[in-house]
Amino acid sequence: MLMAHGLAELERGARSELPLLELVGVTKRYQGTTANDGIDLRISEGEIHAVLGENGAGKSTLMKLIFGVVRPDEGTIRWKGTDVSIRNPEHARSLGISMVFQHFTLFETVTVAENIALTVPGSVAEISNRIRQASIEFGLPIEPDALVHSLSIGERQRVEIIRCLLQNPELLILDEPTSVLPPPSVEQLFKTLRALSERGISILYISHKLEEIRSLCHSATILRQGRVTGTVVPAAKTAGELARLMIGKDLPRTKHPPAKAGGAVRLRVDRLSTTDPDPFAVNLDDVSLEVRSGEILGIAGVSGNGQSLLMKLLSGERTLPASRRDAVEMMGESIGHLHAAERRNKGLAFVPEERLGRGAAPSLSLSDNAFLTGHRRGMVGMGLVRNAKRDSFTDACISDLDVRCSGRVAPAASLSGGNLQKFIVGREIYTSPKVLVVSQPTWGIDVNAAAMVRQRLIDLREDGVAILVVSEELEELFEISDRLAVMSKGRLSQAMDGRSVDAEIVGRMMMGMFDQRPQDTHR
């Protein structure tokens, strides 16, 4: 049914003589690397066209070229048959190109209507009216007078889409739009997108999620290492075929034997609630969890539901008052009031979601960054840094995790996302933790690095370490979790068995519907 729908659409697109947008041989180089190499791409009116590729394949560079953020070094961009040089985003918008960014460009301290007024002509009052109309028309409910910081991530995406639609675009670019949505909301988004396509609006849909593209898109251009490896009708291909075009081989899988039962509880959170007056924060509401020795507990959920606060309270980057220290326990000891360094001394390690600027200091060398948390491994003597110990530790991290870099003196900022993540994971593992907390282990990194990181986590679990993983990628959590809990609006569900849990139930729980939860198998 979906397939037939897609093919019919494609035929309609093929009938119009002129493509709306055409790229011929477009190349973009950055210092030493070719991000896009001779890209050809055609989109017709009303077509939903996917750009498929794994992280680092050159998708975002391509979008920046089309949206005028950067200019191509070679090649031609044609808009409705005419060669154009898109000078900047303003120019792109005036041509009829709009873009919904993956990392939103909304301003938190002003209202929805004011945000939109920045790029759409008209007074704030007029724009408020148009927002109300559009939100009914496209099924995107939103309140124009709301301050953006009070909106959920999903609501913010609606604002971004409405902002684009009010500019009457002919081409709408969406960059990984479903990464911020719970699965049940994805179908609602697709309905909206199909409705737009019916009206003749073309959509460029950037994603690395194969199933989504197969169900939504009429055609797909597949990128690998900056080059086009195929232009296909995705509904006519299997997910495996698409994956091979995308990464050149089958998707790697991790070996994940069942966890040994009966490990001692190493990390416990007991009825943890916060009352942060900060209007930009999501507070935690009665969060409880347990992680045992030799198991991986996964926490699913769309980002922005309190995960980052929970991570900070677990890592010790934020602490609780001494009177509430019992809310976080490690190895049976209350640690809620302890600072990050004190918790690390007791055997905690943590891989944060921001690698550059939090997990590592960008301008400093890998040695210095290894020292950052690895200094406990005998690298300090009489208050002075022992360089030899530090350097051998660094070299071990680099070689053991196959970190591609120009040596231990390379600044952290010079590494690719995947290599830096491998380095940080390696560093934390090498501190021999008893409890490891990992946030978004594979965000934005290529499949090979991701597979390696996941396998390392499982191996570490086999050594008896208690591991907590927070991730936005459900697939990933299903792959590595022994037990799985869901976070929504600052609340955490009870944990379910990670192998038998139903994806649909998890999807509903991500929207805050905790009532259908099955009994926790562990309690």
């Binding site: 985003p89 939103f104 920045l118 900060d278």
Partner: protein, 307 residues
């Protein structure tokens, strides 16, 4: 006793005016995300250039224009350093501030200790003769009234205009603003220049109206107090006005105490504005949630579209 009080309150407006003008310029500048520490130096430049102009032309209007121009020129140096050459804002502010203090001392040397004529006060008919309220509110000079209008305009500009909205969002996140096609560097540049012009006007008022004389170091930390006032006002023009007038009254306490004849050492009284700045800064800053809600999020961060 009540005469002394009326004297303090009436004088407070004039004393507060240079603080308020300089702080208002800094407020607009900070709302765009730029922390300009060179206010003291810009005020000094404005003060000396205005003083020299008034001495030679006799025109206070020309003097203020010249003072504004000179301080704006100095703020251009700051803007180029921080916005084009991406230098650290704190260090650049100190550097340019010290440069302004040095240049003003050098240019003003031949005029050291000289005096000039003050401007006339405007007596609002009838109202000025009302006892107590009259001398306090309706017998001030034109710049005092103008500064009130400027404060109200700034509040309206930030709240109600599209340009004000642009300024605010650039201050929140210049990167996002750029990706929407706004011009953060240009917006910030203009905000810095406005800050410079206001500091120049403030200095001009200080040296040609409030105390019509020039001496090196006459700004005496008022530029730094202006920077603190912006935090005190939590980046809101209306609260800034309240804060500035409070400080105006505080710095007149010295004179009032002398008039009453209490035997307090003058050095102790001279410390009052500085001590109260510290105290109030500490009280306001300790409300971290309020600061976070009101402070421009990108304050002090360099931004370049290329990065």
């Amino acid at each position: 006793m009540s005469d002394a009080l009326v004297f303090v309150l009436a004088g407070a407006f004039a004393t507060a005016t240079p603080l308020f003008l300089a702080a208002l310029g800094e407020l607009i500048c900070e709302r765009s995300g730029v922390f300009n520490l060179s206010v003291e130096g810009m005020m000094s430049i404005g003060a000396v250039v205005a003083f020299i102009t008034v001495t030679h032309t006799g025109s206070h209007a020309l003097g203020m224009a010249a003072g504004m121009l000179a301080a704006t020129a100095l703020s251009t140096v700051f803007a180029l350093l921080t916005l084009r050459l991406l230098a650290n804002q704190v260090v650049s502010g100190l550097a340019v501030g010290l440069l302004g203090l040095g240049i003003s001392a050098m240019v003003g040397m031949p005029y050291e200790g000289a005096v000039t004529t003050p401007i006339q006060r405007l007596h609002v008919p009838i109202l000025a003769d009302v006892p107590i309220v009259g001398p306090i509110l309706f017998s001030q000079d034109a710049v005092v009234y103008m500064s009130v209008v400027l404060g109200a305009s700034a509040a309206w500009f930030l709240r109600r205009t599209r340009a004000g909205l642009t300024l605010r969002v650039v201050g929140e996140n210049p990167r996002s603003a750029h990706s929407l096609g706004l011009r953060p560097t240009r917006v910030r540049f203009l905000a810095v220049l406005f800050g410079g012009a206001m500091a120049g006007l403030a200095g001009a008022y200080a040296s040609t109206v409030l105390t019509p004389l020039w001496s090196q170091g006459m700004i005496a930390g008022r530029g730094w107090i202006a920077v603190a006032l912006v935090v005190f006002a939590t980046w809101r023009p209306t609260r800034l006005m309240v804060g500035a007038y409070f400080f105006g009254a505080v710095s007149l306490l010295d004179l009032a105490v002398q008039a009453i004849g209490l035997g307090i050492p003058s050095q102790l009284m001279a410390c009052v504005p500085y001590v109260s700045t510290i105290a109030i800064l500490a009280i306001v800053s300790s409300d971290i949630a309020r600061i976070r809600l009101n402070a421009p999020m990108s304050l002090g961060e360099s931004y370049s579209p290329a990065a």
